[in-house]
Symmetry: C2
Subunit: 353 residues, 2 copies
């Protein structure tokens, strides 16, 4: 492992944690649980801290990003922290014109749709110097977390490219999917650049102290398997080469990806995230068995009466037992209007099973 | 068949059309083709006609709805017309407060989330009198179409209910999926009412002259198979009972529904629509063979250079040959910015294969 000597995985401080054991395929005494987007939106202490600070600015202020990352660990007793960031942070750090508009999402200064647009974009570089606030925030966080592992966070190249080509969030990512077929060379140039950008961002977090890494390919589910394999998977595999020599386990997540689970594992992931659509026993079978799974509590049930949610969580954990290992999580991020006390109760329930 | 004696399926005027033959599982000399949303957005003659008229108003003006329905048949030479309407039209006709906001979609006067909300909603009735403009528009259209069949149009109860519970379009339909689990009785009351509403709307179109019917369950793909079968399929089956005695073939369509294809067929559909994600040979295998298919040209490729689109259409038609019958269509609606000359060229290509 090419990790610094004070890294948690080298000192071993997080090695016996339920989360790190589970992502290595083990079955610890308690089933580990954390929630995508646990850091943020649903927590009043988060909203208070963010007051008056823009989203990307808050990601790039080390003290604030670290504090936001720690808040859900303190409150819920989850088994892992996930670094508070956004998939477009490395774009901003590379000098790309991007902002996050409240209620909309990432909006680019321009849409990158032509060979010339992309040729100019790929001139942008993500330097070590620019990554300093990320490295500092991860360092502060890991020091405070002790035995609780931190998960490094990065977007997959396809999802990043979808934002870049569309210029903003979209339902079907039509323009990105058009470019993939209309000009495969330009598309390849774009996702290759995005792979190195996001891989560099992830590597910085791991070297600074993250004990695992998760690649978010939120929009991969819009692709057919053939398109995923030709136009997205090679870039995801390339992104992951940036952390392979560091010896961390990688979780790969998308939504609406039942038809892509095998392909998403094959890019070099160790753990596959499963959304609420596919029961874990079916996901395990689709993956041919042998792959640790993460998921797949339906976020819609967080707002249902407790007995309904409890029965669902028990079912998710029971079905997850067919997989070699299971990290409980939601099938997608915590909805903003979620009552945070419900999340705490889910953690207690999972730990009691 | 309980159809009027002047109905196209009784007089037989549309019976030999490639479209009607294909949806009965036959292989006519030419492969039939039409496009979801062919009536509307992408056509300059549509935009000129609609100028100054709201979306729902245009659906309810018989002359306008009929003319819009006919425009793409004249221009592209497609093998079927689809009635120009919107899935919320029957809500409006039943007196529910709904409007279609440009660039947003259907927006309700209120979100229907509680037992009381739903109890009040289900008091609304869709009368024969209210359906008069629809019946008139269909009659005008069928007279003008002659041997070209008209497809009746209706939303599936789940998708309608998703709009009603959310109050507006949403990405994940969380509130609807919460209600389905949190209060199954209220949910059931809501989708049962929506089933009768949309079934009545569809029946009126068929009796007035439509030679086939399509049920659009655009958001069904957000459901797990278990949730679809428990919370959506029974209502879709109920909606279709409103037209079963009329002897028309029913096409059932959704997006992101690879995991639901069998269930969507089992509700009483004759033809299954397949989006761009699942190649038709795989869809045929998932359905166990024997089911006529509709689809599945990727709308993203309409904006690609012709040789790329041509190769894709040829591949779709070739894979569709494993199914007993195939109606070529897009995997989703025509994107608004589509060059209409491209659609015409696709029709010519499909007819030449």
């Amino acid at each position: 492992m090419n990790l610094p000597s004070n890294h948690p995985l080298v000192t071993g401080v997080t090695n016996d944690s339920p989360f790190v054991r589970a992502i290595h395929g083990d079955r610890p005494e308690i089933t580990p649980v954390w929630f995508m987007r646990q850091a943020g939106r649903s927590l009043p202490e988060y909203r208070a801290l963010r007051e008056g600070t823009g989203m990307l600015e808050s990601c790039l202020r080390p003290d604030m990003a670290s504090e936001i990352t720690l808040q859900p660990v303190r409150r819920h007793g989850v088994d892992a922290a996930v670094f508070f960031s956004d998939i477009v942070v490395p774009l901003r750090l590379a000098g790309v014109d991007v902002e996050i508009r409240s209620g909309v999402g990432p909006v680019m200064g321009q849409a990158y749709r032509t060979a010339d647009d992309v040729a100019r974009l790929v001139e942008s570089e993500l330097t070590e110097e620019a990554l300093a606030p990320v490295v500092e925030a991860v360092g502060l966080t890991v020091d405070a977390l002790g035995a609780t592992p931190l998960i490094g966070f990065a977007g997959a190249p396809f999802t990043l490219a979808a934002y870049l080509v569309e210029g903003r969030p979209s339902r079907d990512h039509l323009a990105a999917r058009t470019l993939m077929h209309a000009d495969p060379e330009t598309w390849d140039r774009l996702v290759t650049w995005a792979a190195d950008l996001t891989g560099t961002f992830l590597r910085a977090q791991v070297r600074a102290g993250a004990s695992a890494a998760q690649l978010f390919d939120s929009w991969a589910g819009s692709l057919s398997r053939a398109d995923y394999e030709a136009g997205a998977a090679p870039a995801s595999a390339r992104a992951l080469t940036h952390v392979h020599d560091l010896g961390v386990q990688v979780i790969h997540f998308g939504t609406g990806t039942e038809h892509l689970l095998r392909s998403m594992h094959a890019v070099g992931a160790d753990v596959v995230g499963v959304d609420h659509r596919t029961p874990l026993d079916e996901a395990d079978a689709l993956l041919g068995g042998g792959v640790p799974l993460q998921g797949n509590v339906d976020p819609a049930l967080l707002a249902a009466p407790w007995p309904v949610l409890e029965a669902h969580v028990r079912d998710v954990v029971a079905r997850g037992r067919v997989a070699p290992a299971h990290v409980v999580n939601l099938g997608h991020g915590v909805p903003p209007e979620t009552d945070p006390t419900v999340l705490t109760r889910v953690v207690e329930l999972v730990h009691s099973l």
